[in-house]
Amino acid sequence: MNGMLTVHVDGIGWRSPGLADWAAARALLRDGGSPALLGASGASPAVLPPNEGRRAPETVRLACDVAGQACTMAAREPAHLPCVFASMHGDLAITEHMCMTLAANPLELSPTKFHNSVLNAAAGYWTVATQCHAASNALSASGASFAAGLFEAAVEAHANEAPILFTAYDVGACGALAGAMRAEASIGVAFVLNPERSAHTVAALRLRHDGDGDDAPALRGSWFDAALLPLFGALAHGHCARLRLPAGAGSALAIEVLA
């Protein structure tokens, strides 16, 4: 009952401005570089049919892009993978557009913008595009969104004894809302997580929610500030590492990376 969960990483997806996939990000991280996160993600995922790709908001394109990368690397058919999508902000550009319309003329609200505004839009487009009937989840936990989503995915993988797709994404925006939220960065990452080691396993993550901690890292800033470099740096180098991500008030997600 120590609450430790080990999941094996069978696939990794990555996209940030200027880094189109995990191979590019890994090369940069191995050279000691830091990914630039300002700007558009430039995602145009192969998994979405061209029409859907044009209609889908940028958050959805980014999430589907990295999710597809992780499935390809893990050689997993997305149709059979349950999925967890995590985002700190959802789609700020859509929220901004909807709130501007509501302030000016609410009767002109766009039906497509409305159904694209749900936090589970990425999960919705993804499951439609991949014909996935498995459980799909969408969650948010402020600056702990990555930690909460990763932990939820690991819990689902163990509870159901089956691999799962985990995707975390956020897109920078401009406007009053993005200003208030200080949301400027675009980044999407994804893992295919397997409760068992497989032929595709590249690393293992040992996870524990630590709620005892007065020494828990403070929940401020964005999930990629805290999560990105230590975790993905260790994965890029194939190094073992221990890190603690903020996981909400007074709690941390302890992660051990096993190369």
């Binding site: 709130c99 302030a103 039906p111 159904h115 839009a121 014909q131 009053a176 208030a180 007074g250």
Partner: protein
């Protein structure tokens, strides 16, 4: 098929909606066939529809120590938390198990977006006014942040936002955390409040009924939107407590805002709920349907009900009482299902006169007095996101 799971005890539960505050108000309104719906008096731009509005939120700011979190959604959360002594039960569970062993799982579709809408109505030089600038008001996790501060839990905490299945899926999330030994208890919170986004958004999709919704009526014209807060405390043991028996989750893989024409996702969710609960359809006494009163949802759900259940199963939609409370619908209707078990009655389907022929055998229009030992609750959301919950009487 998933394996059978050990049932969990529901050691405290409550709901606040247009029917009133707490379980007694809900039982009284359900038994008395008194709807909480009223003509829309919420939007400043007129929109002819019925709404399920909770009275008094405008005059009930949060206690000053949590003033930074003050929004309509968090006010409703706080109001609902105090009903049926749920707050005391939650605090006792935290003291009993330790704060790090209690999860806080929030479910909502729009969180505090009403505050974001207000900020856009009062932009100053293109920026949010100072009073509405705090990020805690504009994040999808606003409910979880507020409740974690108010309750002091230190276990896993997140906000699931899968549209209208949000607060059903937190039951599944809780069960996994408890079964794997990560926590000993989970506080489940589903809260959604009226806001321009949903009223005008569903209006844009032409899914809002001009009059009070009539679920499964052949002349139904769409949904009535409501607001609600529901809370459930889940633990392994609890003498005399009703049980969470199982759940099923699935994806339609069909369309963002239209259900699968044959209800494929709904059928998968029901089948998984049966498997986890170790029951079959004949053992189900009552199904609280999603029953939104849109043409499509009810047509599809009626066919699924008729195909998967014997004619003796009793089923209803209670949205004629509360409206569709969106992200709170899962937990609100879970509470109604638990009340049906506790009080031994099947609530009917308010406002409905002529039922869809497909499910007229199962659909209860009038209330029925009968023992309910096993009850199901269906919740289906945008993005084809489905969840079915199975509840049972005390072991």
């Amino acid at each position: 098929m998933p394996s059978r799971i050990p049932p969990l005890a529901i050691t405290a539960y409550t709901a606040t909606s247009a029917l009133g505050r707490g379980r007694h108000a809900h039982v009284e309104a359900l038994r008395g066939r008194r709807s909480g719906l009223r003509a829309n008096d919420f939007t400043t731009t007129p929109l002819a529809c019925a709404i399920g509005r909770v009275d008094g939120l405008e005059a009930s700011p949060l206690p000053t120590e949590w003033a930074a979190h003050d929004s309509r959604n968090n006010r409703l959360a706080w109001l609902g938390l105090g009903a049926d002594a749920f707050l005391d039960a939650a605090r006792e569970a935290i003291a009993r198990h330790g704060a790090g062993r209690v999860a806080l799982l929030a479910g909502t579709s729009t969180a505090s977006i009403g505050s974001t809408e207000a900020a856009f109505r009062s932009l100053e030089d293109g920026r949010f006014p100072a009073a509405l600038a705090a990020p805690v008001l504009h994040t999808p996790h606003s409910l979880g942040l507020f409740l974690q501060e108010a309750l002091g839990t230190r276990g896993p905490c997140s906000t699931i936002a899968t549209a209208c299945s949000s607060s059903a899926k937190i039951f599944a999330q809780a069960e996994r955390l408890i079964r794997l030994g990560i926590v000993d208890a989970a506080i489940l919170a589903g809260v959604d409040t009226l806001c321009g986004s949903v009223l005008f958004g569903f209006n844009a999709l032409e899914l809002v009924s001009p009059d009070a919704c009539r679920p499964f009526d052949v002349a139904r014209r769409g949904i009535s939107i409501g607001e609600a807060a529901g809370f459930v405390l889940l633990e392994r043991e609890g003498a005399g407590a009703p049980r969470l028996l199982g759940y099923g989750e699935s994806s339609d893989a069909h369309h963002m805002s239209t259900p699968h024409p044959h209800g494929l996702g709904a059928r998968l969710a029901l089948a998984d709920a049966f498997a986890r609960a170790g029951i079959d359809a004949r053992e189900v006494d009552y199904v609280n349907l999603h029953g939104t009163a849109t043409v499509k949802n009810d047509e599809v759900e009626a066919a699924v009900l008729a195909d998967m259940f014997p004619p003796t199963t009793r089923a209803s939609s209670t949205k004629g009482w509360t409206g569709h409370t969106l992200g709170a619908a899962g937990i609100l209707e879970a509470v109604i299902s638990l009340l049906a078990i506790e009080h031994g009655f099947v609530p009917g389907t308010l406002n409905t006169e002529v039922a869809e022929p497909a499910c007229s055998a199962q659909l209860a229009l009038a209330n029925e007095e009968r023992a309910v030992r096993v009850a199901l609750s269906n919740s289906f959301g945008f993005g084809g996101n489905n969840c079915t919950l199975a509840f049972g009487c005390a072991a």
